[in-house]
């Protein structure tokens, strides 16, 4: 079969997928860049957001885009409680302990969702699902286009927030040097809380946006967590532009790789890239850590 005519479609699909990966990775890079905590439960908060969207659709009959009104605050609130109860106590603990805490949280969340919602896959219908935009031979899902656009806007917005606002300046100070920031009168604990809420809470924004073209299941989060890690390492931990670029790269690699190889061999390519980067360029594409 001649694959060339399908290539533009695969490229576009990859870019749209990459936009979704980027938006998930941006939150992860935020929590890592500021708190220096590797959150293995990151994707599970996305799953919580998706289930909230699902509940909104089944119980209240809300379109995913409308349920944004309550999903975003609820996920952010969950993030705040998680920070207070689980993350703050281990913020100064050795890396090991932090990994065990977030990994344990991930297991608890996944199994709680399994207990409440069973292992069934659900699709969440929206007015936009099935809505397709056509450019020549390339077909684009409208919902995916919106998610990608928001992803880019969110990356730029967060970058602007950290660069240009007083609050962002304080967050960066807390990220650079905890003790020095404390001495300058920055409420480091509150900055950490804020960064964690933004990083994880952004998933509350992502969930309703990807709901129209993504399935919901208790395990959906762990796929996103690992991909988000790959994206974050590729684009340098703590770097927003890097997360965006890394997301697009991984998205395109998966889509084009899937077209060329078939099966799940494209994932092997993704992991191989990740492993090579970890081995030879662990600081990522954009070099030194920057926030």
């Amino acid at each position: 079969m001649d694959l060339l005519p399908l290539l533009p479609q695969a490229l576009v699909d990859g870019l749209l997928l990459g936009g979704v990966y980027a938006i998930v990775a941006v939150g992860l890079t935020m929590t890592f860049g500021v708190l220096r905590i590797v959150n293995f439960a990151h994707g599970d908060f996305l799953a919580i957001g998706l289930y909230l969207t699902y509940l909104g659709a089944t119980l209240l009959g809300l379109d995913p885009y409308l349920s944004l009104i309550f999903v975003l605050p609820l996920v952010t609130l969950t993030a705040a409680f998680t920070y207070r109860l689980l993350i703050a106590p281990v913020i100064a603990a050795p890396e090991h302990n932090q990994i065990v805490v977030t990994l344990g949280l991930s297991l608890i969340l996944q199994n709680a969702m399994l207990a409440f919602f069973t292992a069934d896959l659900h699709a969440i219908p929206s007015v936009l699902s099935g809505h397709i935009v056509r450019f020549g031979n390339v077909f684009i899902q409208a919902a995916a286009l919106i998610a990608s656009a928001v992803s880019i806007a969110l990356c730029l917005g967060l970058y602007w927030f950290l660069r240009s606002t007083e609050l962002g300046r304080q967050i960066r100070a807390a990220a650079q040097d905890r003790d020095a920031a404390l001495m300058c009168g920055v409420n480091v604990d509150r900055m950490y809380l804020l960064a964690f809420c933004i990083g994880v809470g952004s998933l509350g924004l992502v969930a309703p946006l990807i709901a129209p073209f993504n399935y919901v299941s208790p395990g959906v989060g762990s796929n996103f967590t690992l991909t988000a890690f790959i994206v974050v390492v590729l684009g340098s931990m703590g770097n927003f532009a890097g997360a965006l670029i890394g997301g697009f790269i991984i998205g395109v690699v998966e889509a084009v790789g899937g077209l060329v190889t078939g099966g799940s061999i494209n994932f092997i390519i993704t992991y191989a890239i990740f492993i090579l980067f970890l081995l030879f360029k662990p600081e990522g594409l954009l070099g030194r850590r920057r926030l």
């Binding site: 890396e95 090991h96 994932f267 092997i268 492993i275």
Partner: protein
């Protein structure tokens, strides 16, 4: 030698308790012994040497696939497959450990790379039809001592207990050896350990090898 005596005593007690359990109790017994063995093997690298590996599923999986594939395709008894699996698992651990520690990856990066290697191996095996692809391999269930299939649950109890005993003994030996102290030194402070000429990375790539000794 006291710890070894205690270990022998514990194994003897467990072995005499096993026949008294119900079938369900024996099933739990097997699971406890196997999970215990895996945890102990992980502890060499994670606990003693202080390196957080999230990829030990790879070694358990590799061991299981090696012995099962040998049995199903070549008719090699799992009793021999067990040794082959340990050697191959060890070689895999040595290869990964050597590559990773030479690049001086530790902490989060070590956790991530072990996780990635295990996930990649999962996808690779899923795409190999000879290894059963995503369906996996199943051993026909008929009583056959050479084939590592026992007529009663009790046989599996003793097999699992044997694995647990061997892994425990290996760990006791490592713990008391020079290697064990080197692991502890690396955990406490990698730089001082290296400064005391303990050859940090060379010592560190041995733990995955011992950890891989576990099979099925």
């Amino acid at each position: 030698m006291r710890p070894m005596l205690l270990l022998g005593l514990a194994v003897a007690v467990l072995a005499s308790v096993a026949p008294l359990l119900s079938i369900y109790g024996q099933h739990i017994f097997v699971l406890v012994a196997l999970y215990g063995s895996v945890a102990l093997a992980w502890n060499i690298l994670g606990g003693m040497a202080g390196q957080m590996s999230l990829g030990h599923a790879l070694f358990v999986g590799a061991g299981a696939y090696v012995s099962t594939a040998l049995y199903l395709n070549l008719g090699v008894s799992p009793w021999i497959g067990l040794m082959v699996a340990a050697v191959i698992g060890g070689a895999l651990g040595a290869g990964i450990g050597y590559t990773v520690f030479r690049r001086k990856l530790s902490g989060v990066y070590f956790a991530l790379i072990t996780l990635a290697v295990a996930e990649m191996a999962l996808h690779i095996v899923n795409n190999i039809a000879d290894l059963g692809g995503a369906n996996g391999l199943a051993i026909p269930s008929k009583p056959d001592f050479v084939g590592f299939q026992f007529a009663s649950k009790l046989g599996f109890c003793y097999a699992a207990l044997g694995v647990l005993a061997v892994v425990s003994a290996v760990i006791l030996i490592i713990h008391r050896s020079r290697l064990g102290y080197v692991f502890l030194a690396i955990r406490e402070n990698e730089r001082s350990a290296a400064a005391s000429a303990l050859m940090s990375y060379r010592e560190r790539w041995s733990p995955p090898r011992s950890a891989a000794r576990w099979q099925r």
